[in-house]
């Protein structure tokens, strides 16, 4: 028989369940060339709570996944082009552009996204990529800082992320960043707001399940900045954090605040080993 008919029946029977699918087993091949690591062994600091870390890409529909697999389809690439122009645009009192100091973005920024947030020895603080961009603008270019979650900033983050695509996230969690990492971890497990929900409630304990019409992922941020179909723009990590915290009926933290820097450091480290995907495409 009709193996085909059997398969057809099986497919028909399993259809109603497909809405409640777990993470899929698809492979993220970029531009038909490069295979990205979207599932890998969890970093050692997570060994008590999970075995495998997975990109949010696995929790999205085939259609959404496909948008990210081809740079000509990826709606975020328009913003990368824009940021490429900004990279070479002279601004501020020092009459410099990014390129004045960093030359070719493809060379100077390769690998940068993968290790942020990271410790800045001179400043004595943990910095996100956005903080570093604004530090350059203010102190090297003599230009105005960009809004932390604004379009200029998210586009520049996307341009810089592209130069690390495919490289494993490798955020340091010890040494001078350790106390901030611990703070971020505490925040991750804190049940905030009137709904008393922590990051972990949804993204550690319940990933793969549906919450109303949303398929819960592990909340990995290796794909940021991310183009969301929901708001048709690039979103950076702190903007997304803010939305999540708000939805617990909590008072949010401010994008760019040290609280969100700590949370970003911790959440980024949960994705150590996954490929940098930014700019990704999500719901």
């Amino acid at each position: 028989m009709n193996y085909k008919a059997l398969t057809a029946i099986a497919v028909a029977l399993s259809l109603p369940l497909s809405a409640y699918a777990d993470a899929d087993d698809d492979t993220l091949v970029l531009n038909e060339e490069e295979t990205l690591v979207t599932k890998t062994a969890a970093p050692a600091h997570l060994s008590d709570v999970m075995d495998e870390v997975m990109s949010g890409w696995h929790f999205r529909s085939d259609e959404t996944q496909a948008l990210q697999m081809d740079d000509f389809e990826n709606p975020a690439m328009v913003f990368v082009d824009k940021a490429f122009d900004a990279w070479e645009t002279v601004e501020g009192t020092e009459e410099k552009s990014c390129a004045s100091c960093h030359d070719d973005v493809e060379e100077s920024m390769a690998g940068v996204r993968a290790v942020y947030p990271k410790w800045n020895e001179q400043a004595g603080e943990v910095r996100t990529l956005a903080m570093q961009v604004n530090d350059c603008r203010e102190n090297q270019m003599g230009a105005k800082p960009w809004k932390y979650t604004g379009g200029d900033m998210t586009a520049m983050e996307a341009l810089i992320s592209v130069q690390s695509r495919g490289m494993p996230v490798n955020v340091a969690i010890d040494g001078p960043v350790q106390s901030m990492w611990e703070q971020g971890k505490e925040m991750y497990y804190a049940r905030t707001g009137q709904l008393e929900l922590s990051c972990a409630n949804c993204h550690e304990d319940s990933y793969g399940l549906m919450i109303r019409a949303d398929h819960l992922s592990q909340g990995q941020i290796n794909g940021f900045p991310t183009y969301r179909l929901k708001n048709a723009k690039l979103n950076n990590v702190h903007a997304r954090f803010k939305g999540c915290v708000r939805d617990t009926r909590a008072e949010t933290y401010k994008p760019g605040s040290s609280d969100f820097v700590a949370l970003e450091l911790y959440v980024a480290s949960r994705g150590n080993g996954l490929a940098v995907e930014g700019p990704s495409v999500r719901n």
Binding site: L209, R246, R249, E251, T252
Partner: protein, 158 residues
């Protein structure tokens, strides 16, 4: 003067009704987390409870629970157990405890407390993301909770 006393009388009636309502801070849980006394002293309305359970801005029970009786409402979540048959599995007092503050029954449960106004970390003004400017109100009113309890009590095993 007549009108004034009439208004006064209405006010008094109003507060008398409120006084019969159990405030969130006064809910009495037994050792298993159940709440025997009705929050309103009035029977719940199961039809209204069904609407509340399926409405995003109200109970939104379907965000996490599947409920066959609410099949008309799209997208039921799967984080909590299905509520089918819950009316057979739980008494009214147990359902009231689960609705007001499920953590009194199941320590550490993800389920939010629908009738609680204090003891939160960084509570906000509803879903604005801003700090509250006035005292928090419970997610559902006493009567809404009684209505949902009445609805869930109708969910029997087939």
């Amino acid at each position: 003067m007549k009108r004034l006393s009439l208004t006064l009388a209405l006010c008094l009636t109003g507060s008398a009704t409120l006084a019969a309502e159990v405030a969130p801070k006064d809910v009495q849980y037994n050792e298993d987390g159940a709440v025997a006394a009705s929050l309103t002293g009035q029977p719940g309305d199961a039809a209204s409870g069904a609407v509340i359970a399926g409405t995003k801005s109200l109970g939104n029970c379907v965000a996490c629970h599947q409920v066959t009786a609410l099949a008309d409402v799209p997208f039921h979540g799967e984080i909590g157990p299905s509520l089918d048959g819950a009316g057979d599995r739980w008494t009214e007092a147990e359902l009231r405890g689960l609705m007001t503050n499920a953590k009194m029954t199941f320590e550490g449960t993800m389920m939010p407390a629908f009738y609680k106004v204090e003891g939160f970390i960084r509570p906000g003004a509803a879903y604005t993301g801003k700090a509250p400017t006035e005292a928090l109100t419970p997610i559902l009113t006493a009567q809404e909770i009684e209505d949902v309890i009445a609805f869930i009590a109708t969910l029997k095993e087939e």
